[in-house]
Symmetry: C2
Subunit: 416 residues, 2 copies
C-alpha cells in the first residue's frame, strides 16, 4: 500500500486495532446500556480489507450504510475485469483511511481532475468496509460468465404482498459500504462510481442512517423504527459453527469460485409507522413476540433469555402467538434455518401523502438463499401479523465472492 | 420537567454542560485537525431548550439533520395553538433526552398506543435541537393571522436556473431537528408528526447526513460533496455583533412578536458531482476561489487568512476571478450583506439516469431575507460559475419565532 493516510489519528488509542480488540473495548465501555455514540468512541479505526471472507459481513455492524446497485454498461469482459481491479485497489486504500488513489484530491496535477473527490480528507477510516456482490444478470451472455453462474443465485420468487418498484430492484453488481461516519461511506461509494464512469451506471442506491441489527455479542442491540430491539437472536460473529452452517459457502456447495463467499439478500421494507404508532403496546408486543422495553421473549424476563415457543398463558394459548414474528422467523419453526441479518433504518423524505417514507433496509447473508431466506420470508409473508404494517418495495440478490488476498482482486476466483 | 431521562449517561462527563463549555472542550480536544468523530466525543450532552433565541441556529452545528415541512390540515386556530403547546412540551422533553411524553414507549397503559415510539430509548440527548418556523401560507385566512404576517416573510422570487419541484417546496410550518446521532433527530421529527396526526401532514422532508458548515470558531470546518471546506467565512456564534447585525430580528424591524427571531431559507441543491469530478483541480479552485486542501483564499496561505479580492496574479487579473463563488457571495461584493449558513450534505438514492442524487441542503438564517439571501442568491445565480454544476430543486422560507421562556410555547408571542 502506498501513500499517507488521509489524516493522523488524534486521540484514538484504537487506531488500527484488530476487530476483536475493538469489540472488546466496546463491551468494556458500555456493559449495561451502551449508546450508539459510545460505540463510536472506538469506531474510528481501520478494519482489515484482506482475509478469507470479505469484511462487512461479520464485522460488528457499523452505524451507517450506503448501498449501491449498479448495471455494467460496457460489454467487454476485459473492461469489467480491469474495473474490478481498479475498484479493489481503491477499496484497499479507502478502508485503510487513504484517498482513493495516489495523489488524491489535491496532490496530483492541478490541470487534471483530482483522483479523489476530497470530502473525506480530514476523516479517519471510521471502520469502513466495502463488500461486493454479483447479481444474477451479470451471468448472462455479455461476459461469458453463464457457465460460472451459481445455481443458487436464483431470481427471488414473488412473495405475497410484494410491491416491488423496478427502480429499486436488481442490479449486475452491488457494493455495500458500512462505516461509523456516513460521510466516509458516501465518499467510498461515490469514488467507486466515479472510477467506474463509462463502465457502470448507478441503478439504485440506499442510505441507512442507523444500524438495526447487532452482529457481535460485544455490541448493544440497536432499535428499529418500530421501537423494538433488533438483532437479539441474530447469528453472531463469535459463533463460528453457526457461520459455517448458515453463512459461508463451503466446498461442494456450488461453484468453487464462491467458496468462502456467501449470498446477500437486500429488501427495502417501507414501515407504515403512522399506523404502528396507533397500535397498543400489548398488540405491538404480541406482533413481535418480545417486550418493547428490555426486548425479552414473551414469557421470559431478560433480553437474552432463550425464546421458548411452548410457554402457555391464560386459556392455554401459547404466550408467543401463532402469528408472532419471532415464532415464524425462528429456526425451530423453520426446521433449523437461520440467516445473518445486517439491516439499517432509513428515512427518505416523504411519500407525497402526508407521511414520512421510513423503514428498514433489510440485508441478510446466507449460504443458500433458496433454502434459508426464501422459506423464512415465505413464512412471514403468509402469516406474520407485522406484514400489515410493512411494504417490501425493493429487492436484490447477489453472490458475494470470498475475501481478497494481498495482491488479488474482487472476484478474481471467478475471472481467472 | 417530569420523568426520568431516557438513559443514564455512561462515560460522558459533558452531560448537561452548557454550550460554551461544550464548544471549548471540542476546541481543546482537536486543536489542529479534528474529525467529525472527535467532535462527537462531546456530542452526547443536552442543549438547553429555553432562551432568548431558539436553539439550532447558533448552536455549534451538529453532525446530522432531519428537516420537515408540514401543512396544517385543521382549520381551527385553537387546534393549531394546542398543537404548538403539545409540541413544545414534547420538544422540551426530547431535547433533554427524555421520551416525548410521560409514560413513554413502555411505561403507560399497555392497552393504549405508547406515548413515545421508542427507537431512541437507549440513546443520550445527542445535542438535539428542535427549531420551528412559520411559512408565508400560515398567514392566510384560515387562522386569523393575516394581520400578523411579517412584511419580510416574502415569497422568494424565481432565480435564474431554478428548477423547483413542487413536492419539495413551501410548507405552513417547518421543524429543523439537528443532533449528533441521526436516530435521535429522526425520532424527534417522527414523534412531532405523530403528535400532530389529524392536525398537520408532512409536505416534504430531508435527511442530511453530514453538516456542511461550521457555526462556531471552536468547530473544525467540514467539507461539502465538492470536497471543499465549507463554513470558513461563516457568521459564527461567537461574533455577537455580526449576529445582531445579520441574524436576529430587532425591535422596529418588523412585527413585535418576531423580535429575537429570524428568517430561515432552505434550498435543496442537487450537485452534479459526476461532472464536477471530471473538472481539473485548478478549475475547481478557480470556481470556488479557495484552495481545496487547506481551504485558503486564492492568493493566501492558511484557511483563516482574510479573503482579499484585490490580489492580482499573472496578467494583472484578480487571483479570485470575477465568477468565483467567494467573490460573488462576499460581503464586500454585496455591500455588507452576510447570512449565517447551516447546511447539510445529502444523498437520496439515485436519479434514474445512472447517477447518485446528492447535494447540499442549504439552510441559512438572516434578519431580512429580501435584503440578504435574495441579493446574494441573485448574484450567484447570475454570475457564479459553480451554478453550472448545481440545480436548486427545493425551497422554503420561514419566519422563526424567538426562543421559548419556561412555561411558554413555540410561537406564543404570535398567538397570545
Ligand atoms: C421491517 C421489517 C422487520 C422488522 C421491523 C423486524 C423486527 C424484528 C424484531 C424486533 C425481532 C426480535 C429481535 C431479534 O431477535 O432480532 C426480529 C427477529 C427476527 N427477524 Fe425480523 N423484522 C423485520 C423483517 C424481517 C425479515 C424480512 C426477515 C427474514 C425474512 C426477518 C427475520 C428475523 C429473524 C430470523 C429473527 C430472529 C427470530 C428468532 O428469535 O429466532 N425479519 N425481527
Ligand atoms: C451546493 C451549493 C454550494 C456550495 C457547494 C458552496 C460552497 C462554498 C464554499 C466551498 C465556500 C468557501 C468556504 C466558506 O467561506 O464557507 C463558500 C462560501 C460562501 N458561500 Fe457557498 N456554496 C453553495 C451555495 C451557496 C448559496 C446558495 C449561498 C447563498 C445564497 C452561499 C453563500 C456563501 C457565502 C456567503 C460564502 C462566504 C463568502 C465569503 O465571504 O468568503 N453558498 N461556499
Amino acid at each position: 500500500m502506498t501513500g499517507l493516510p488521509r489524516r493522523r489519528l488524534l486521540g484514538f488509542a484504537g487506531a488500527g486495532v484488530a476487530l476483536a480488540g475493538a469489540g472488546a473495548a466496546v463491551g468494556a465501555l458500555s456493559s449495561s446500556r451502551p449508546s450508539s455514540d459510545q460505540v463510536r468512541l472506538t469506531g474510528a479505526e481501520a478494519v482489515p480489507f484482506h482475509g478469507e471472507h470479505q469484511a462487512g459481513i461479520t464485522t460488528p455492524a457499523q452505524d451507517r450504510m450506503h448501498f449501491v446497485a449498479l448495471d455494467v454498461t460496457t460489454t467487454k469482459r476485459a473492461e469489467l475485469v480491469s474495473l474490478l481491479q481498479e475498484w479493489t485497489e481503491a477499496a484497499r486504500r479507502m478502508t485503510a483511511g487513504q484517498e482513493a488513489a495516489e495523489g488524491g484530491a489535491v496532490g496530483g496535477n492541478a490541470q487534471a481532475p483530482p483522483k479523489d473527490t476530497g470530502e473525506a480528507l480530514d476523516l479517519p477510516p471510521s471502520a469502513l468496509t466495502l463488500t461486493i456482490g454479483f447479481g444474477p444478470s451479470l451471468f448472462d451472455e455479455r461476459f461469458g460468465l453463464a457457465g460460472s453462474k451459481p445455481a443458487k443465485l436464483i431470481d427471488l420468487p414473488r412473495f405475497p404482498g410484494d410491491d416491488l418498484d423496478e427502480r429499486r430492484t436488481g442490479g449486475d453488481l452491488c457494493v455495500q459500504a458500512c462505516a461509523n461516519d456516513p460521510q466516509v461511506a458516501v465518499h467510498a461509494i461515490r469514488n467507486l462510481v466515479r472510477i467506474g464512469f463509462g463502465r457502470v451506471s448507478v441503478r439504485w442506491s440506499q442510505l441507512g442512517f442507523g444500524r438495526t441489527s447487532s452482529t457481535s455479542t460485544a455490541q448493544a442491540t440497536p432499535r428499529n423504527l418500530f421501537g423494538f430491539k433488533d438483532g437479539t437472536n441474530n447469528v453472531k460473529a463469535e459463533d463460528g459453527d453457526a457461520l459455517r452452517e448458515h453463512v459461508w459457502v463451503a466446498p461442494g456447495d456450488g461453484p468453487d469460485w464462491l467458496v468462502g463467499g456467501t449470498y446477500l439478500v437486500a429488501r427495502r421494507i417501507r414501515m407504515h409507522v403512522e399506523i404502528w404508532d396507533r397500535t397498543s403496546l400489548a398488540e405491538q408486543e404480541q406482533i413481535v413476540g418480545r417486550t418493547k422495553g428490555v426486548g425479552a421473549p414473551l414469557g421470559q424476563v431478560a433480553e437474552f433469555d432463550p425464546v421458548d415457543l411452548h410457554v402457555k398463558g391464560k386459556g392455554g394459548l401459547p404466550v408467543i402467538g401463532a402469528t408472532a414474528h419471532v415464532r415464524l422467523a425462528s429456526a425451530e419453526h423453520l426446521g433449523g434455518v437461520r440467516v445473518l441479518r445486517r439491516g439499517y433504518n432509513f428515512t427518505d423524505g416523504s411519500d407525497g401523502l402526508g407521511h414520512l417514507d421510513a423503514g428498514l433496509f433489510f440485508l441478510c447473508f446466507n449460504r443458500d438463499t433458496g433454502k434459508q431466506f426464501v422459506p423464512m420470508q415465505a413464512a412471514l409473508a403468509a402469516g406474520d401479523k407485522m406484514m400489515e404494517y410493512l411494504e417490501h418495495n425493493g429487492s436484490g440478490h447477489f453472490a458475494v465472492p470470498p475475501g481478497v488476498r494481498e495482491g488479488g482482486f474482487w472476484g478474481d476466483t471467478l475471472f481467472t
